[in-house]
C-alpha cells in the first residue's frame, strides 16, 4: 500500500531520478538557499523560520564553501541519494539536515510526519514558490505517508544514505527495514541534555543575561528537543546565587509552560525522590542525582549540587548529548567529555542552535564523500 503519499514540495518521481553531475556547493544550489534565507529573513516568518533563514545566510554558506574547498589531493563529491526521516517533536529540524544534503549536491527525499505545523506549511509553500521560479528542487522531495506504508522500505532500498532522526522507538522500528549493504546509515536517537553552571560573586551582573539565555533554551520547543536542558548541575556555586538565577529565569518564563504540565512534571520528579526548591513559571526540583531522564517532562528543571567534576560525570546518562555550560574552562570541558558521552557543549541561550556538527557528527562530511585523486 504505497498509496496516500503526500508530496509537500519538490518533485514526485524520486524513485526514477537519474544520476546527475551536481557537485557540492554548486552555485545554483547555493543561490537557491541564499534566496530561501533572504525570504525567511524578510520579517514575515516565525522566529523558528527566521532562525533557519539566519543559519542559511549567504556569509555562512560561503564560509562553509571555503572550509570545504577542494585541494589538489581530494575532491568533495555528493553521496548520491539521501533519505532523511525527520522527527515530529522538533518540527523544523528536517530543514537543516535537508539543506546540508542539498548543499552537498545530493538527491534527497525527506519524510516529515503527516500532521504539518503552521511553520512547516509556510516553509513548504515558500519552497514550492522558489521551485517554480528556479526549478531548484527538481531532485528533492518532501513527503508524508502513513508509517504502515511500504514506502519506507522502498526508499531504504533506493537510498545510498539513510538518516534517521527520532525517538529510539521509531528508529528501532525503521531499522527493522533492511538497508542494502551498499547504503550507509546515520541515526540521531533520543538524547538527554543538561546544563552545568559555575557561578561566582563576580558573575552576579551577568545573571540576568544568563537567565534569559537559559529561559530561551528551555522554552524553545517546550523542552522537548534533545538539546533542551532538563537538569542543572551546579558546580561549586553558592545557593544564594542559584536562587538569584532562578528568580531571573522565572521572570523570563511567564506563561511559557501550562500549569498542568508543570504540576505533572514536578510531581513526577518529587515522587522519584526530588524536593521542590523553586516554584514558579518553571519548577525546580532538587535531588542528589539526575531523575526521570526517560520521561518527556515540560516546565520542570532538576538540579543537583556538585563539588567536583567527577560527581558531574558520574550522573550523566549514556545518552547525554548537550551540556549548556557557564563558567567552565577548556580543561573542565575536556575532563567532562573524556569521562562521559557528552557530544557537544553550548553557550547559555544557544543550546538549540543547530550546527552542521551535531551530536558529534559532521553532517557535511557524512553527506558527502572525499574522493582522493
Amino acid at each position: 500500500m504505497s498509496s496516500n503519499i503526500q508530496l509537500w514540495a519538490g518533485s514526485p518521481d524520486y524513485l526514477q531520478w537519474s544520476r546527475t553531475q551536481i557537485m557540492p556547493f554548486s552555485e545554483k544550489r547555493v543561490q537557491f538557499l541564499v534566496r530561501l534565507s533572504e525570504v525567511l529573513l524578510s520579517g514575515h516568518y516565525s522566529a523558528a523560520l527566521t532562525a533557519l533563514g539566519f543559519w542559511l545566510r549567504e556569509s555562512q554558506l560561503r564560509q562553509w564553501q571555503q572550509e570545504y574547498a577542494n585541494d589538489d589531493k581530494v575532491i568533495l563529491a555528493p553521496v548520491g541519494r539521501v533519505f532523511i526521516v525527520s522527527p515530529s517533536n522538533v518540527e523544523g529540524l528536517f530543514a537543516y539536515s535537508w539543506a546540508l544534503s542539498y548543499l552537498m549536491g545530493n538527491q534527497t527525499v525527506v519524510r516529515v510526519s503527516e500532521q504539518l505545523t503552521d511553520d512547516q506549511r509556510a516553509l513548504f509553500t515558500l519552497l514550492e514558490s522558489l521551485d517554480v521560479q528556479t526549478a531548484g528542487l527538481s531532485e528533492q522531495a518532501f513527503i508524508s505517508y502513513d508509517k504502515r506504508s511500504d514506502i519506507t522500505q522502498k526508499l531504504s532500498h533506493w537510498c545510498q544514505l539513510r538518516m534517521l532522526w527520532g525517538s529510539d522507538q521509531s528508529i528501532e522500528s525503521i531499522r527493522q527495514m533492511p538497508l542494502p549493504a551498499q547504503a550507509q546509515e546515520w541515526v540521531f536517537p533520543d538524547r538527554y541534555s543538561v546544563s552545568v553552571l559555575h557561578l561566582t560573586e563576580a558573575d552576579i551582573p551577568r545573571i540576568p543575561k544568563l537567565a534569559e539565555g537559559f529561559a530561551r533554551d528551555v522554552s524553545t520547543y517546550q523542552q522537548q528537543a534533545c538539546a533542551s536542558p532538563k537538569w542543572v548541575l551546579w558546580y561549586q556555586t553558592d545557593k544564594t546565587l542559584q536562587q538569584q538565577f532562578w528568580q531571573a529565569v522565572d521572570a523570563c518564563l511567564v506563561g511559557a509552560f501550562p500549569a498542568n504540565e508543570r504540576l505533572v512534571a514536578s510531581q513526577y520528579l518529587c515522587a522519584l525522590g526530588g524536593v521542590k526548591v523553586f516554584y514558579g513559571n518553571i519548577k525546580v526540583i532538587e535531588a542528589s542525582s539526575i531523575l526521570g531522564g526517560d520521561q518527556h517532562l515540560k516546565g520542570v528543571v532538576g538540579q543537583s549540587q556538585c563539588s567536583d567534576l567527577a560527581t558531574i560525570t558520574a550522573q550523566l546518562p549514556n545518552h547525554i548529548q548537550s551540556v549548556t555550560a557557564f563558567g567552565l574552562d577548556r580543561a573542565a570541558k575536556v575532563a567532562l567529555m573524556t569521562r562521559s558521552n557528552v557530544r557537544q557543549f553550548a553557550q547559555m541561550g544557544h543550546a538549540l542552535n543547530f550546527d552542521k556538527v551535531w551530536d558529534g557528527i559532521d553532517l557535511t562530511t557524512i553527506l558527502s564523500k572525499k574522493v582522493r585523486l
Binding site: 534565507s37 529573513l41 527566521t50 532562525a51 539566519f54 555562512q60 560561503r62 542552535n353
Partner: protein, 79 residues
C-alpha cells in the same frame, strides 16, 4: 554614503525603526523592535552590507550600536 550612514540605514531597515533612533547608546532588548528574532535579521543584513562574516561570539556580544561598530571595526570597517 559613509560607513556610519550605511550602518544606520541597515539598523533602521532591519529593526524597522527611525534612523534617528540608531545612536551608539541604543541597546539590544531595550526596544521591542530589537528582540532576538530581529537580531538575526540585523546580523544577516550587516554581514551583507559590509561583506563580512561574524562569528558566534561577536553575534552574541553585539548588544548595542556602539558594540556593533567595534565589532565591525575588527573586520576593517572604519567608522
Amino acid at each position: 554614503m559613509t560607513n556610519n550612514e550605511r550602518l544606520v540605514a541597515t539598523f533602521a531597515t532591519s529593526l524597522n525603526i527611525e534612523a534617528s533612533q540608531v545612536v551608539d547608546a541604543l541597546e539590544y532588548n531595550t526596544i521591542p523592535q530589537w528582540d532576538s528574532v530581529a537580531h538575526m535579521v540585523l546580523v544577516a543584513a550587516l554581514e551583507k552590507e559590509f561583506d563580512v562574516m561574524l562569528d558566534m561570539d561577536d553575534i552574541i556580544e553585539m548588544s548595542s550600536v556602539k558594540i556593533a561598530k567595534d565589532i565591525l571595526a575588527k573586520h576593517d570597517v572604519v567608522f
